[in-house]
């Protein structure tokens, strides 16, 4: 339990570090072509080897981490920023019209397979990192709305909310002052999980060519470009694949670990 939290934290920090460092320094220019150096296996000069254009894979992975993390982070931000207030509103007006509208709207979004809609959005508005963010972000809204509503509903039955009502506080104020701080644990945990799903979704969209466009490096597109030469130079596919797997794995472990750590019910049992 402890181990998973620490391992998850380490993997997540590694990905964040790679993205952060890439802003200042990468071993090579990730966009620099050098056909003479193409498909070199890992070596001291090129830690993870080079791809079919002779670009340094380590440099591309670092820069790609930046794209993945930025897309996922903003998408989670959109989901939280819109979903949480909607969920709080639904809980505050439980059983009322607002609750009904928010929850049925949620159901509507949930009813569509997310990747298909993401493909639709990027197909209509053109493929770009921004549209990928939008597509992934929209599907985060109902997730956060549900988590926020569920957590808030159980709090609304407690006497301290009654006391706040007796103190003349309205639903908005109670939601901000009493509900939100007490569901922040839930939201943080859901945030890490959505973050990992966002990275996966970005990789998926880039893989089918609907995410970040060249020359912006992206893990998903690296995989797509590598697939034709998987037998020839497996390292070109293995390293971006590993980057995705380890980052998603790390974020999931972090989410689980945080849940165990932050949820007082689970903490009491431990």
């Amino acid at each position: 339990m402890r181990l998973s939290l620490h391992l998850g934290l380490a993997l997540t920090l590694a990905a964040l570090l790679a993205a952060g460092v890439s802003l200042l320094w990468t071993p090579y220019d990730p966009a620099a072509l050098s056909i003479a150096e193409k498909l070199r296996p890992p070596s001291a000069a090129h830690w993870f080897g080079t791809d079919h254009f002779g670009r340094d894979i380590a440099a591309m992975l670092m820069a790609g981490a930046r794209t993945s993390i930025a897309v996922a982070l903003v998408a989670v931000g959109i989901g939280m920023g819109l979903g949480v207030p909607l969920g709080l509103l639904a809980a505050a007006r439980h059983g009322g019209m607002a609750d009904e509208v928010v929850m049925r709207g949620n159901d509507l979004i949930f009813a569509f397979p997310s990747l298909v809609i993401a493909i639709l959005i990027t197909a209509v508005f053109g493929p770009s990192a921004f549209n990928a963010i939008l597509a992934i972000g929209i599907f985060n809204i109902p997730v956060f709305a549900r988590v926020a509503r569920g957590g808030a509903l159980s709090l609304w039955t407690l006497d301290f909310i009654r006391a706040a009502e007796v103190a003349g506080k309205g639903a908005v104020r109670i939601s901000a002052e009493h509900i939100l701080p007490n569901i922040s644990n839930l939201l943080i945990v859901q945030g890490t999980i959505q973050f990992s799903l966002g990275i996966l979704a970005e990789a998926g969209l880039s893989y089918v060519g609907l995410g970040a466009q060249p020359p912006t490096p992206s893990w998903g597109r690296m995989l797509a470009e590598a697939q034709t030469m998987v037998t020839l130079a497996p390292h070109v596919a293995i390293f971006p694949g590993l980057a995705i797997v380890l980052t998603v794995f790390g974020l999931n472990l972090l989410g689980d670990g945080l849940r165990d750590r932050l949820d007082p019910r689970l903490r009491a049992r431990a």
């Binding site: 006497d159 301290f160 006391a163 009502e165 103190a167 003349g168």
Partner: protein, 535 residues
Amino acid sequence: MTLLAVRDLSLRIGPTPILSDVTFDIATGEVFGLVGESGSGKSMTALALMGLLPGTARTEGQAHFGDIDLLAQDDAAMTRLRGRDVGMIFQEPMTALNPMKTIGDQVAETLLIHRAASRADARRVAREKLERVGLPPDRFPLSLYPHELSGGQRQRVAIAMAIALRPRLLIADEPTTALDVTTQAQILDLLQGLVRDEGLALLLITHDLAVVAGMARHVAVMQHGRIVETGPVERIFRAPGKDYTRQLLAASDHRPARKPQMPTSNPQALLSVDNAVREYVLPRPSAFAAHPRLRAVDGVSLAIRPGESLGLVGESGCGKSTLTRAILGLDALQGGTIRLGGAPVIAGRSMSPTLRARVQAVFQDPYGSFNPRHRVDRLVAEPFHLIGLPPDAEDRIAAALEEVGLSAADRHKYIHEFSGGQRQRIAIARALIIRPDLIVLDEAVSALDVRVRAQVLDLLARLQESHGLAYLFISHDLSVVRAVTDRVLVMQSGRIVEAGETARVFASPEHPYTRRLIAAAPTIPDAWKEHAHAD
């Protein structure tokens, strides 16, 4: 004849000692009461006997049950024993049954697990047992699910499960604490009948001395994991040998010293409720039917004078809480009016904050009444939202805490650092801080242990006198209402069925429902008390 002889039972969970040297005997066919306040180790004793302790628990001592030692059995042996020789029922009937299985299957399951009967026989026995616990076949077929039953009926099913294999010992851990007083009386009757007819022994664990007084032959009083005193109930109650027992007995029918308010002394009503109606819209029974309505409060009228204590008693679902929410201006009425000092109480923003500030409330649950993330000063200061933060807010927070018997330094602590009784004091400080005229006490002492409850009642009486507060005291506990109110209202199915001076209503109740309530409330016989107090 001794059925269960517990000798020097000690228990540690990890490094923490839970029980030490618990020793008592239960004879065949008797009710043995185990009383104590929360955390005294009553339930742990029962779980130790049943072998249901957590894995890190270590027990010492013996518990001779017939010719075996319950504490020396391995898991497999205890599994065979539980249900067959020792049955158990728990406090919470709402969660004691599996919601996905019919009541017939659940009672039959006990027999099937112990391979005591074939499937058909098991169902026949289940039928018999359910009938024995007062669930006759015409109204309660085996195919019912727990959600179709009330709390009392579910507790009957739990009892039927526990007695299905005719165990020699039944352990009942607070079996009636979650039930209404009239239901409690029926369940206690049933348990007593079972002891008499089936010859089983009953270990009755409760915090309620009055329940023990009416049920048990012998009693053991527990405190801090030890048995303080044990003996025949009547002797212990008449002449308690230990201070702790004496304190418990005194606290259980404690009456705070208070000046009764004469109804004629101040005719102008502070709060008047006139013909209040509150309806809920229920879901449609079928797609095109009209929404049925539930009238939770049905034409209720009442008045509270300044400085008066008014009691409101009734069982769960009678509409007390709904009425309270309307009085606090949280829910709108469908009919009638509520006026506070002449001004109308309306739900929502149209009610002025200064009017709202005249009524505050203290709620039941000391653990759910506070935002765990705020410090005490912020919690207590919350009602200032109504009147604006005064310049001397800090001083007033300190004063309010000191007034309820806490220290001003407590304001920097978080709520989890306080006990249940202290939390209820903080709740009172929160209600007091803006100097309301009326405090609604919604089951405010129901969750407290008797000694703490007595202290809080004293505090409330003192504050009432010094501030001229009026109280609306809502409770299901008749003895408390009797001790602290001037007048009392009895509520049943949304209506006030009886109203009058507290002493008069309790001495000569007029409405049959009031009579039933008073008769059902367990009491310690007066003769025992007089003797004890004379000591």
